[in-house]
Symmetry: D2
Subunit: 265 residues, 4 copies
């Protein structure tokens, strides 16, 4: 399991959220308060949108708290939309290629969760990735596989439905191999304009996910960034959100229903 | 392209070959004399056989010349059979998971070469890896894929034939995608008892490969480790060698013939 | 603060103590039970004595639990005398040069503790290092400085007295700058034959230190390696131990008395 | 010896100079054309001035050509003033703390060269660093020492004179120890407004240094960034330059004269 946060709104410095909050992401890397994995120190990553076409990625394998570059970059970089992630491996190696966020074109994606039986199912997941995107299969995580499979499901035009279908397809594989939990999924993704986030599990334990509307924008985070929790809204399981400007829209996120709709059609 | 060496014989310290020769492997990492890639600084690796069942692997992503641990370990470690490799990436990331040698059970493997169109063919190569070995597909190189596919071809009982068939199968994929060169292959592999090495290319440019019989053992190396080349024998293209004690046996290594034999049968 | 262990006795594999115990050193890197710093993930190091003249050092900056090389090396390396350390930085950078154990000639040294006001006192500590050893001042920790200053105090012939005097000299500097705590010190050092360990603080909070005599040798460790604590002896503050074969001798370790004796003489 | 470049002028993306030129800095890291060290692969660093008070530093220990983060950051970061450096160690470890540029407050500094007898003179250099800056002595290079000593000589108010005196003081130490070459020095430093660069040696072999005035700004570089050398001006030995807007002023840079002036006064 991992921790992450995202910001969309007025341009701001990354370190205001990544480092300076009472329960900032870097503090969560040593001491997450929600969930079963207090230490999230198997690498980290940032993705931010600048004036270039593609987002910028900075990822590395050390704990977020000990990376001198992270502190520098987060202090000097401003962005109106960024994603940040600290990783706790559920089995795959600590490697830059396994660090989130992942990117394809304008899109970025990060995930907290797992699909059961990783080593048993990975070859099948890899086969489900669209051939033209396989050159962007850099690592071995099921997270990156879900993201690439979602592209094959039409992420560009149907960001929430495609992600739901990708989650369903991966869960089908893990449930066939019967290694529990089949799917735990809290994720956040963006095309550089809107931010999407969703929460789901095949059992009762969907990983935590929250958001908060501030004066100048919206924060999405695995856990509240301050002590008193004021203003934070918990995203419920089977639910996705979508930002549009300062608005947050709520959608259903039921992977198998999304899959049925397509397959019936 | 990369550089490598292997030793089998009397137990000796690794640094005698890796660091102390006139044209040692670490010197080759800065200044290889044969081949088109003088700098081989995208990581390195050692595999040695000790008293444990499996070989020991030490791999990292810095240039071999600047790794303080490598100097220490090579100075203190003795082995009767070891492999050492310095990497020049032909496209995939500089990542520990992409560093040679690779290991499965008792077997270790290292490679210098490439298969054309890496990003176009990788998904097909991944699908050819036996399912029960996919958990050991850690990186993204075609080298590791060839090794795992060779296991599926029966490497345990037919070490040279299985490797030849794996090379043929990979070349079939790259030639179908028409990205030249289809296959360049100089490799070395071992089960901890014998060392095997082979040289082959789909064109005229098979990567260099040499061996030398010394008083206490046999060295296999991409290029001679000393200036005068005395005693070094060049392995010809379409040829494999196999050590047995202090003997070196020569075999034919014609991938498509090897494949035909099986497929006819 | 950090965690460490040492072994002297019959040759054994390093992973038996570093990885396989209920409260092994790698488990302590995520979850130390004694002391105020449960996470010790700012690098790690091993030093072991082989057939070579000098000890072998393997050190790196990732958390011990995520380093694939550490697992390999600890599994394949046997030694009759080794030191192992996991680091929690008290301020200096996460850098290989700041990882313990440190080495000079046959000697190795590792430390858990701190001297107050590190940045204020470091230049004075550096000036106290013998000129001929300054080429071995690689990092910035006060730990390494104490070790090098101890060499100047005659560590070779008076291993416990010299270390005590070095600790006193460093404490004199930190107490002059009035940054508390002046000195916290639990350390372990060896010449490849005997292992020495000492515990001391300028206040009541000397870092934990234990040892245990087993059938085939002696373990010295920051905390017991098993749950029930059976057979573990706590080393008291102001006390040093010295191994000789299977014997453990206890000595007084009172830095200022040691310094007075020399200065009177 | 190393390679470096700096830009001051209109805001531009870093990768235009670091990656996209015919003889870009990243190409120089594999194949420098001038000087005796074609490979500069022992780490790299960037410093750029943003809207924050201090410059931003990104430094790491891999070869510049293989660092995925470097490519990303240089592509997305714009600055009106930046420094970039690729390192070839002359002895000290490959460590982030030894990577250039170095920073103190608003100032950044990078160097290509060496002072003879590094390990013999380092303790004396360390003692010459102003006490209040010793907390910023992170590594072991003589380059960082020269920069910190220059601060003690009044870099803030006399950027060229103070640097010259620092160089003279360090050369006095190395010449006393009689290890040649006493001083080779090509360097570039900035307060975020102006860029300074100087070239000097105690013998005939001052490291190369060039600049070029473009439409929108000034490039300073170890070697010309294109093949035809058009428009590039070689800075002569014993000479410093200073930018002011689009102007380049030339100054004498004679370390011992600079020192004499102060000492007479």
């Amino acid at each position: 399991m991992c921790r992450f946060l995202a910001w969309v709104g007025k341009q701001r410095y990354l370190d205001e959220l990544v480092l300076e909050q009472e329960q900032s992401l870097v503090i969560q890397s040593r001491n997450a308060l929600i969930g079963k994995t207090p230490i999230n120190a198997d690498g980290f990553g940032l993705a931010w949108y600048s004036d270039r076409k593609m987002p910028c990625f900075y990822k590395d394998t050390h704990p977020a708290w000990s990376d001198a570059n992270l502190k520098q970059l987060a202090h000097h970089t401003q962005s109106r939309l960024f994603l940040a992630h600290v990783r706790a491996s559920t089995g795959t190696a600590t490697s830059r290629n396994n660090c989130h966020p992942f990117g394809v074109g304008r899109w970025s994606f990060m995930h907290n969760g797992q699909a059961g039986g990783h080593d048993l199912i990975r070859q099948e997941l890899d086969a489900m990735i669209p051939a033209h995107l396989y050159g962007q299969r850099f690592g071995a995580t099921e997270s990156e596989a879900i993201f690439l499979i979602a592209h094959g499901e039409g992420l560009e035009t149907d960001p929430i439905g495609a992600m739901a279908r990708a989650v369903a397809r991966v869960e089908l594989v893990s449930s066939r191999h019967k290694v529990l939990p089949y799917m735990r999924f809290a994720a956040c993704w963006s095309d550089g304009e809107r931010v999407y986030a969703a929460r789901y599990a095949s059992d009762k334990y969907a990983p935590s996910l929250h958001y908060r509307t501030c004066k100048d924008g919206i924060i999405i985070s695995s856990e509240p960034l301050d002590g008193n929790n004021e203003g934070w809204i918990e995203i419920q399981s089977n639910t996705a959100i979508e930002t549009e400007g300062s608005l947050v829209r709520t959608h259903s996120f039921r992977p198998f229903e999304a899959l049925d709709q397509v397959e019936v059609a």
